[in-house]
Symmetry: C2
Subunit: 105 residues, 2 copies
């Protein structure tokens, strides 16, 4: 039983991890292909990918000795759900403001 290190917000808190996601938005890439785009070492990138994987932002599939990384929607949906709550909050707030402003028209 492996324990999860961080949640989705923690996963997104690191700039290198967000850069990985951005790179993967252009297409599937191996760990090495990703690592080439960074100053940091390959093990560092490996760990970042693991965090992204644990939080369902990325899926990794073994292909021979390579591991191919691809964006996964589920993690993004989780984040989306979170922000939707506040989106609703703001909509309601501005609706109420609008109602208030129109009260005497």
């Amino acid at each position: 039983m492996k324990k999860k290190n961080t949640d989705i917000f923690g996963a997104l808190a690191d700039p290198n991890r967000r850069k990985i996601l951005m790179l993967l938005s252009a297409g599937i890439l191996s760990v090495s292909a990703l690592a080439e785009q960074f100053e940091v070492s390959r093990p560092a990138i490996s760990k970042h990918i693991k965090v992204l994987e644990e939080n369902n932002l990325v899926t990794v599939t073994d292909q021979g000795r390579e591991r191919l990384c691809e964006l996964q929607q589920q993690g993004f949906l989780e984040l989306y759900d979170w922000i939707k709550f506040y989106d609703a909050f703001w909509n309601e707030k501005f609706n109420n403001l609008e109602n208030y402003l129109n009260k005497d028209l």
Copy 2:
């Protein structure tokens, strides 16, 4: 010139800070009123609020010796902008899938 500690993703990475936002979604609260809802000390909450303020998730207004905290939309919009990019990514992806599936109909 004071330097900002973290960006919006870092600001949201802490569970206590997200709880502060949730509590503020119910209405304006003073620092003390917020602190009551946590196990951690008041200075800790103070610092969390500062981070939220620096990232435009919360505005604080002085009222006598109290400081009233309120949600601020700007920070949420920043996050929204980020996720919108990936939202578009997924929409495009599934559109393409749909196009592919319908190709021979």
